[in-house]
Symmetry: D2
């Protein structure tokens, strides 16, 4: 399982979330070294919105805990909205093109979980990627496929509806192919202004997802960045979370 | 344009062809440094047949001239049949999964050239990859797609016919999509016993391809490994070359 | 802490020890993913003796568990004597030049442990590297420094004495610099024929080291490759282990 | 030979110099592909001053022309002062730690050229690195050694004098060791406010160095970024160039 975080709020240095907290994202990537038993050592990525509508992207196949470039970038870069992701491969290659976040135009997307039986679904799902986006497919992950599927569902008009429609696409194909392995899907999507996150599973085991709003700052994370789980809110299973500047976080069920 | 070589003959150390000749393959990768004006610095790969039916594979995204592992492996490894390839990307990512040779089961394949207009053909061509091989697609190159297409055409029974059929597949899709950019295709394929190479173009500019047979040894190369071009034979445009142990090299036209 | 193994015996495929055993070395590198809480994800390396007096070397900064080249090489390569190492950095960069084993001429060396206070000792210890070897220093680890120090102590004549003398060198400099952090040193050295291993610490906590001799095969490992610890022998603290073809393993104390 | 550029002026996006000009630095790295015969494919690096006194650093062992992270960073990052470097190794490993620029505290340094006979000088020169900086030595290049030598010569007080003193250090050791190979040294140094560059050789072949001042902007480059050499000024052999905000570029001879 991967770990990710999204930040929306006043301009902040990336290292304030990536390195400084007790259970920072980079700490989580090597947690196994310390006390928890899980390693996310199969690459990582950063996406952030700067002066342009399209986000910056820094992805690397090395473990995050070892990358001096990451440390330097996180110290120098400030943003009002950024995504960070540390990867534990569920089978595909360790390569930059398989690292999250994925970016296209102004959009950023990252995912934790797994489309069960993806080997048998891959061809069906890739066949649904819009023609004009197909050549941009650069890797082989289920996550990148899901990202490009968003663009067949009016992501521009309604990103929440697009995410919901992609979950339906995947569920339909799982049913058609008779896949038993579950779909687990905890993801975040942004257009540079708002963040939409989702916590979903076809069974009763969706990956964990937490959020905290503190003034103008909203952070969504796979797991709390400090030891105080009680100060974080759990996103309910099969719910969307919508975070926009100067608004309270909204939650709404996936099944509308 | 990439550069490649294939070797078939008595067991030989790989560095005898990769490093030692005056214009060795690794020398060709950095030729630009010396006098010729072309760089193949976008990764490289080795495939060789050892004790197993399936080949060994070593691929790396670094330039070949800088890889100490390559130098050590080429010094230690011996084989009766091996492929080596240095890559100059025609647009896709520099990643191991885009480096040649490609391997599946007992087969090795490598390619120099370009399927013109591949961005517009990719989806059509990938749709023809047999279901059972589709999940093995690990990169995004036109070359890897061509490799997996071979398996829909009875590669086991007749590799030459399979290569011919893939060229027809590509030409058909180029015509259907109204692609003007040429198809250039110089490739080698092996089952561990024989080597089939092809030099083809849809226009009159197929990439160069040379061969030399010396006793039991047959070497096929993108360009001669020494300065003596006269001691090498040019594969005619739009021809296959078939090389098998203890047999004279055979040439036959692509258009049968 | 790193993990390593050395093999001496009848020619064997490397994957028989690197991948196949239940607690194979590669499994140990990602142990954290499963149940044990330690990750060796900061690169790895292989050294093996083939047809030449000098060993082959394959080192990579990626985690071992993710490297397809390693899997392919381990499947294809056979050797009568090989070393393998998975690294958990104690502070220095993740780079190939910091990965073990280190090779010079016919010698291979790898190390698990740490020269405590190395930052304060580095200059003193590097100053003792023989002039003719100084330019070969390619990384920044304490381990590589220890390796090159061996060559000032008649390694060719008596490798055990050379290892002992290097431990004395380090202890002398630790004393001179008033270093409190312990010296922990579990290492293996080979000339292509014999393997000399050592388990040493300046305090009472030397890293673990086990061995098993089964007919003509001797394997020395940081930790047992299967769950049956009782079938492995522990190298006593502050002892050398000497393994040569057709001889019983010999143990002798570091303090002669 | 490497290629580098330094920029001092109003805040500018890095890609305005790294990617956009006709002979941009990245274009120079793969020039060989086009028409000129030289490849700088052995890694690259960026250093820039942002909000902190210490610079950001992004270094990578891949060729610059292939790095998507570089493209994204150069598009997003703005700075009033930045260095960029593409490397052609003169023998040392291709590794991030050998890529320029080098950074320590607030200082950035990069170099093009070669300390002839460095293998025989390395130990003598490294012995002169101040004790407190010795542990920061992360690579094996002559350039990094030269950088750390600056700190024994009052770099803080007078960076020009420090550069001059390092050239004397190297010349002294070359003389003492009887080195015939020339010293070639074109370098840039910054404290985040000013840029000091130097063009020096022990023979009459110093690497090329050009500058252009246009209003508040001063760019110093190994070779012109456009085809109009006449619009660039050549730094005279064996001269320093000093560039500070709101001041005209100053030149002064190395031999004071």
């Amino acid at each position: 399982m991967c770990r990710w975080l999204s930040y929306l709020g006043p301009e902040a240095y990336l290292d304030s979330l990536l390195f400084e907290p007790k259970y920072s994202l980079v700490q989580q990537s090597l947690a196994a070294r310390k006390s928890v038993c899980a390693t996310q050592g199969d690459g990582f990525g950063l996406g952030w919105y700067g002066d342009h509508a399209d986000p910056g992207l820094y992805r690397e196949a090395l473990p995050a805990w070892n990358d001096r470039n990451l440390r330097s970038l996180a110290r120098q870069l400030r943003a009002r909205l950024f995504f960070a992701h540390v990867r534990a491969s569920t089978g595909t290659d360790t390569a930059r093109s398989n690292c999250h976040p994925f970016a296209y135009d102004k959009w950023l997307f990252m995912h934790n979980g797994q489309i069960g039986g993806f080997d048998r679904l891959r061809r069906r799902l890739e066949a649904k990627i819009p023609d004009e986006l197909y050549p941009f497919r650069a890797g082989t992950t289920d996550s990148e496929t899901a990202f490009y599927l968003l663009f067949r569902h009016g992501i521009e008009r309604d990103p929440v509806a697009a995410l919901r429609a992609v979950l339906v696409d995947i569920e339909d194909e799982r049913a058609a192919a008779g896949i038993d392995e579950p779909l687990r899907f905890t993801a975040a999507l942004s257009d540079g202004r708002r963040v939409v996150a989702v916590r979903y599973a076809s069974d009763d085991k969706p990956p964990s997802l937490y959020w905290r709003q503190d003034g103008a700052t909203t952070v969504v994370v796979s797991e709390p960045l400090d030891g105080e789980a009680q100060s974080w809110n759990r996103v309910p299973a099969n719910h969307f979370l919508i975070s926009a500047p100067d608004q309270r976080v909204a939650l709404c069920p996936v099944a509308a």
